[in-house]
Symmetry: C2
Subunit: 374 residues, 2 copies
């Protein structure tokens, strides 16, 4: 153990030397502020105006503390060093990309969360989260506008023999005008995440509130439930069986929603969208049941080919998106092919983002105005 | 540091010796199962049929790992020891009391959460939680009955210049019969907690669902918001100013609820209850504004004296409760005094529980059938 500690320490010193030797890097601006996702009253982690993140962990007797985030988007992480006050501190070697990032802290070989931050369900565990303020953060900010409600429902599921949870966003005014009925978007999370992701990480409710307040969209309901994506382990997507989820969604959840909410309960007023593995689910289910959904959206979740669509008249919209650091060419080519085949299709590429929530927040913002308008 | 480690190690060895020397203790039954509050797929922490808790933490290079829980309800905690596979394991020295407990893990002097469990907001931070199955757990179990909904609302608050969050429980059937209106219980958490506590830790929604399914109560709405209790530090309750919260509750939240939900918006159909410091808030606000609430409940949150009540005819119920390990005599004496003064009063003592959520779950279960029935 001693020998290993020495090696780790040496590597850290070398890394430190390399960094201080890099004279071409801009100086780090010392305007760090607590991340907006910190727990109440917590000073760390912090973010500066350039997008650097700084961490501080209290573990006086620890031998090594490494944050899983940093070094310009690679997976190498940020090792912290022990300060004079025995706290462990460190700053990412470069600016982070805009938006939300999951991370964790490895302390003496064990994986823990940063006690400073709120936790978010990703990678099949509740992880620490940090928010790098984005230039366009206004569209998902909490503003002084009428707010919709996010309702936790427990709906009966005979096929899985339990009550299952979903969250339902109803737009502002839903509870006032009792005669009005709304279209519905079924919105799926990705692998490792669950039904909490789209509101907690994605701010789907705030995006909707703001779009509605600006008169940019026709209000609709959003339903988010667990896509059972974590029943396969990482890399096992090929073995994923859509059937159990399809049964829950089509035979149990949709009838429950149409009974308990004032929906427009028909195919023209029903959309399905999903991010990443939720996109795969969306594609499979919409193609299997074109009688149920009319609007389809895959967010970093693959493409439709024209030959996938059996009855073009049943499809009102196909929306495909991804981050510019993902596969934008594939998305744009697919959209062109769909358009050429006479299918109303729209692509969106999120600038300077990867397979992360900033891509999907922006995608929802672009998608919402296109839904249920034709 | 070395010397300190040696002392800690020695103490741990001594403690181990003492334990193994206690021949009067019953043997630990090896029927440990994952706690019901574990994150999906996590095997630890575990609980056995006697109420012992067993922990397992991965931190191969750590020098010491101590769980804050254990030793029969004292605050001394459970030190873990390093197993052959380098994981840290340990079992509480005695059975834990029934119900929910907060805890954390101290690793090399730093405070972290157990990566195995879900987190719950208490002590002004998101903490690990463990559930010791209770003999009466059926009343808050998730059952195959109609479920109400828990809605997150963001209500405008001019006095605090932001949108504030509350959770609103609406009973099953709320969305079906659009003509029916309901009474409302305003239900407050304790110090260090927030508006998530009554559903996450308390299972208030499941308690209601089950009571309604059994026909034991008249359905009502529950509203839970942040009591601003954490704006004072521990021990500073004397300096707590009720005014800001009273303004939010009476001038902002109640009008919002009465506008956006189908409430019976008058004093006879409005109750206020709170646990611990939320009880102090309940007492202060109900006494200041007897025109707003008719039913008052303090759960481990103090008492009313007969002379506190200015207009007895305005009070329909006073409910006082606590755990049997708290101050049951005080609660029972106060209830008798209120009854003698002609005020409808009920006391409830939760057997073998302390200042913890099992006391408050049971209190809500006892309180609900008494509300809005006279």
């Amino acid at each position: 153990m001693k020998y290993r500690q020495l090696i780790v320490l040496s590597l850290m010193l070398i890394a430190g030397d390399l960094c201080s030797g890099q004279t071409d890097k801009p100086a780090i601006t010392e305007d760090f502020k607590p991340s907006t996702l910190n727990q109440p009253g917590q000073e760390y982690p912090q973010v500066n105006s350039q997008g650097y993140a700084r961490f501080r962990i209290i573990a006086p007797e620890a031998q090594s503390v490494v944050v899983s985030l940093g070094l310009g988007g690679t997976r190498r992480g940020t090792p912290l060093t022990k300060a004079a006050d025995t706290s462990w501190v460190g700053t990412t070697a470069g600016p982070m990309e805009e938006g939300f990032h999951y991370y964790h802290v490895t302390i003496d070989g064990g994986v823990f969360n940063d006690p400073g931050t709120l936790n978010f369900y990703g990678s099949t565990r509740w992880e620490s989260g940090i928010e790098i303020p984005a230039h366009d953060q206004d569209f998902y900010a909490l503003k002084d506008v009428p707010h919709g409600m996010v309702q936790q429902i427990l709906f009966p599921s005979k096929s899985t023999n339990t009550s299952r949870r979903a969250f339902v966003y109803t737009p502002p005014g839903y509870n006032q005008d009792q005669s009005k009925r709304y279209p519905v978007l079924y919105l799926q999370h990705g692998w490792g995440e669950d039904e909490t992701a789209w509101t907690n990480q994605g701010h789907a409710n705030l995006i909707m509130d703001n779009l509605i307040a600006e008169g940019k969209i026709k209000p609709f309901i959003i339903v988010m439930t667990y896509g059972m994506t974590n029943d396969v382990k990482m890399g096992g997507i090929r073995n994923f069986d859509i059937k159990p989820f399809q049964t829950v969604l089509l035979d149990e959840l949709i009838p429950y929603i149409d009974t308990n909410f004032r929906t427009l309960a028909d195919q023209p007023h029903r959309a399905m969208a999903g991010l990443s593995m939720g996109g795969m689910e969306t594609k499979t289910i919409t193609l299997a049941r074109p009688d149920v959904f009319s609007h389809y959206a895959l967010l970093s979740g693959g493409i439709y080919a024209p030959e996938d669509i059996k009855d073009k008249s049943a499809v009102k919209l196909i929306f495909l998106s991804c981050g510019s650091f993902e596969n934008p060419t594939g998305i744009m080519k697919a959209t062109t092919a769909l358009k050429d085949a006479g299918i109303n299709s729209v692509s969106f590429i999120s600038e300077n983002t990867r397979h992360e929530f900033q891509t999907w927040r922006r995608s929802l913002y672009e998608l919402a105005p296109l839904l249920f308008v034709r």
